[in-house]
Amino acid sequence: MIRAAGLEKRYGSRRVLRGIDFELPRDGFLLVTGSNGSGKTTLLRVIAGLAAPTRGKVQVDVHRGRVGFLAHEPLVYRALTALENLDLFGRLYRVPERRERIGMLLERFGLWEVRSERVEDYSRGMSQRLALCRALLHDPELLILDEPYASLDEHGAGLLDRELDELAGARTLVVSTHDPARIELLATQRLVLA
């Protein structure tokens, strides 16, 4: 599913990634850990196709429309409501039975009651839960999550635990985190960036 060989990424003279090699089979779960500035976010952006490697190559056997990506930022419009944001991305991702899928995700992540409020009025935790809805909206084959537990309270983290538990083994997952203990039992592979 994902093959990285000799992956290197530089920003100017600063080398962020060096000599990354790994192979993740379909339905595998790669846990990416490392200290601040070790290149976790950069690696995930390269896998998602949002950044190009400076050297080496990464091959991802999934069309970009089948990739779900959760970034540090929620990737939703602040002036729009949760429903409007998900409807827009649902259209662009050609989600079948869009309304039902949106309703189900908003219910599952506890946002149904605030579905018609603008995102700018959401707390950080609510924005993160909406970002998870957006990443899962098109039922992606490959799900890339960058620090998914950031900003989530215990209830939100529990919802994410349940979601990852369901997805592990059924979808290919790449997750970076500072709190590996929470999900390391689900992971099939681990990559530690120095």
């Binding site: 949002l50 429309g65 990506f69 990737l75 002036a79 729009l80 409007e84 259209r91 662009l92 957006r134």
Partner: protein
């Protein structure tokens, strides 16, 4: 049809965001009206209509620049640009949607600005109005691409005018020419050609502007 549906969804989103936030259009309206008032008092008596038409184009270009400088701000907030780039739609649809929305804001500003110009200076005939419309399309087509390029850089407020103003010169020549020339059709043709060529170039190159290769 899917492409047009994507463009419609993206344009609708831009119009909705602006209706909610009201960040761009009120500023464009205020700017163009106050510029025309300043020109009205700055232009000496008996200068003639030709100079006034030139000043109209100064006001139009800088009003468009104001709108374009904010065009990609909603996408920069919360990193939405990445979300759009990852979507499986044709990436040029993002540019078309933004161009149509920016054109709508510019036309809305001109609905107020052009009658004000006629009141202060001189009326615009139908040919001059066609010139304005063609130039608007060109400014928004090229400007949306340049604004996306500038948004990716560090000093977007500085970069956008540097990129866009030189490319706007043919539009100003065409716009002023269509208003004052005895052969306005030549200038309308220039504007139409500019629109066609630069719209195709912008449409084709947008993907390379928003992705790393």
């Amino acid at each position: 049809m899917t492409y047009l549906a994507d463009v419609a969804a993206l344009t609708r989103k831009d119009l909705r965001v602006e209706l909610r936030a009201q960040d761009t259009l009120p500023a464009m309206l205020l700017f163009v009206l106050s510029t025309l008032v300043v020109f009205h008092f700055a232009l000496p008596e008996g200068t003639g209509e030709d100079a006034a038409y030139g000043l109209l184009w100064v006001a139009i270009v800088f009003t468009a620049l104001l709108g374009l400088a904010r065009a990609w701000v909603p996408e920069q907030e919360h990193g939405v640009f990445d979300g759009l780039v990852l979507a499986p739609c044709d990436r040029s649809a993002i540019w078309v949607g933004k161009t149509v929305a920016t054109l709508a804001f510019l036309l809305a500003a001109q609905v107020v600005a052009l009658p004000a110009f006629a009141l202060f200076f001189a009326p615009l005939d139908a040919v001059a109005l066609v010139g304005v419309l063609l130039a608007d399309i060109g400014i928004c087509a090229v400007g949306s691409l340049m604004a996306a390029m500038a948004a990716a850089g560090r000093a977007r407020e500085l970069l956008l005018p540097l990129l866009l103003l030189p490319l706007s010169i043919p539009l100003i020549v065409g716009g002023v020419g269509s208003a004052i020339s005895t052969e306005p059709e030549r200038y309308l043709l220039l504007l139409a050609l500019y629109d066609g060529i630069f719209a195709v170039l912008s449409w084709a190159s947008f993907e390379y502007v928003v992705t790393e290769s």
